[in-house]
């Protein structure tokens, strides 16, 4: 299996743990990815206007690069990137007029892109494609007995056109974790928004969301919470500390990227994780469960 890989900005900076662990897990499963030679910002937060094609240029440029790479599939680890790229394809495909206009604004890109030549894929779907059986066989820490709360966030599930699973009742993370020998903890807020970029101007929203989401995961008995989105990760990890400062009774929970957990369960070298990037230190739980 050969596919292109689009990292996006945050995976090279704040979310290094996600990139390193995801690539290590894929390599362990026998999948190598080619990072796009020359990539740009995806645009972040898909523009929902109908009349402003300028906002589509950023994602389309990346999609052109992906087409030029010759691989059909483009892996986007960051869910924000996944959402933006995928929705961009939905918005422009089968619309020659829109594409024509967008191409007029791109001088450097000579390759024509029509919208159907590249499939943007997220890592959960990719792991399912590789095979849950294969994943199961790659796990060495089979008796960790971890209770995991899987947090989906928004970007993989909404809108419906780009959803990787049922927007109301997704199961893909739970399926993957069950194959990896974990016990799944269903908590009612697992698909609810963390507050997203409102952390910038309205941090109170994020605090409120984090309190509900984390509280619900803790109440349902989870040891750890896993997720994929670097923004959710920041909001749910970092903000837990702020809440605890205000409210001592607030119970925190360590947050990991799902690939970090998989890498640990596969017995891959722990030095790919920079635990100093975690605001709530996961090491005590991981040690207790024999993963470190």
């Amino acid at each position: 299996m050969q596919l292109s890989y689009y990292p996006g900005c945050t995976l090279k900076t704040d979310a290094k743990n996600f990139e390193k662990s995801a690539l290590a897990v894929l390599e362990h499963l026998g999948v190598s990815v080619d990072e796009l030679a020359d990539w740009y910002c995806c645009g972040v937060c898909f523009s929902q206007t109908r009349d402003n094609l300028m906002q589509q240029i950023a994602p389309v440029r990346t999609l052109v690069k992906a087409k030029e790479s010759g691989n059909r599939q483009l892996l986007a680890l960051c869910t924000m990137c996944y959402n933006t790229l995928k929705r961009s394809i939905e918005f422009i495909k089968d619309d020659a007029e829109k594409m024509e206009t967008i191409h007029q604004f791109m001088d450097l890109e000579t390759t024509q892109f029509y919208g159907n030549e590249v499939d943007v894929v997220d890592i959960l779907t990719l792991i399912k494609q590789i095979g849950l059986e294969k994943l199961k066989n790659s796990i060495v820490k089979t008796d960790a007995g971890l209770k995991i709360a899987s947090y989906y966030g928004c970007m993989l599930l909404r809108p419906k056109e780009i959803a990787i699973d049922s927007p109301d009742d997704p199961v893909i993370m739970e399926e993957i974790l069950a194959s990896a020998g974990c016990e799944n903890v269903y908590f009612p807020f697992r698909t609810e928004c963390c507050g997203s970029y409102q952390i910038v101007n309205e941090p109170e929203i994020v605090k409120d969301r984090t309190r509900k989401i984390v509280g619900s995961a803790v109440k349902n008995g989870a040891d750890l919470m896993v997720m994929l989105c670097p923004l959710c990760y920041f909001n749910l990890d970092e903000i837990q500390q702020d809440i605890q400062k205000e409210d001592k009774s607030f119970q925190t929970i360590p947050v990991l990227y799902i690939t970090q957990l998989l890498a640990l369960l596969m017995g891959l070298k722990p030095d790919i994780h920079d635990f100093s990037l975690h605001s709530i230190d996961p090491r005590p739980v991981l040690k207790m469960k024999g993963l470190l």
């Binding site: 996006g8 900005c9 945050t10 900076t13 704040d14 979310a15 910002c41 645009g43 972040v44 937060c45 898909f46 523009s47 929902q48 206007t49 109908r50 009349d51 402003n52 906002q55 960051c78 924000m80 928004c154 599930l157 909404r158 809108p159 419906k160 927007p167 109301d168 609810e192 928004c193 507050g195 997203s196 970029y197 409102q198 952390i199 910038v200 101007n201 309205e202 941090p203 109170e204 929203i205 409120d208 969301r209 670097p230 923004l231 920041f234 970092e238």
Partner: protein, 137 residues
């Protein structure tokens, strides 16, 4: 001066309403006010006008009030409302349309310099850029 809000054919099909429709591409008249968007909205308690009332006000042509509302700026574009709508009204696009109506005349909403310095240093890029995408034209 009357306290009643004036409703008229002129207001219901004003240019503002048309412009919002052009930007968003949404047919708000499919809404039957079930309120599912507001019920499911993760940030509704921070809004001055809940989403279902936003749609109602678009139906009635109260765009002048909506562009003064904080609601579109509280919306985090999580698309929950759109997914929940039984009538296929893309509420998230209406919110984006309202933001654009403001930005297309004011260029920016709020002040970038107001962002807390300590927070700004910690924030991942996608938070900042996502925020800029929604608050700057």
């Amino acid at each position: 001066m009357t306290k009643n809000k004036q409703i008229s054919s002129h207001r219901i099909s004003s240019e503002d309403v048309d412009q919002l429709k052009d930007i968003s591409g949404v047919n708000v008249y499919a809404c039957y006010q079930c309120g599912n968007c507001s019920s499911a909205c993760p940030a509704v308690e921070f809004m001055d006008i809940p989403p279902h009332q936003v749609i109602r006000m678009v139906q009635l042509g109260f765009i002048d009030e909506l562009v003064k509302s904080e609601t579109p700026w509280i919306c985090a574009a999580c698309i929950t409302c759109t997914v929940k709508c039984p009538r296929g009204v893309d509420i998230a696009r209406v919110m984006e349309g309202l933001r654009q109506l403001v930005l297309r005349s004011d260029f920016e909403h709020g002040n970038l310099c107001d962002i807390d310095e300590k927070l700004r240093k910690k924030l991942p890029q996608i938070a900042l850029i996502g925020n800029f995408r929604k608050t700057i034209l």
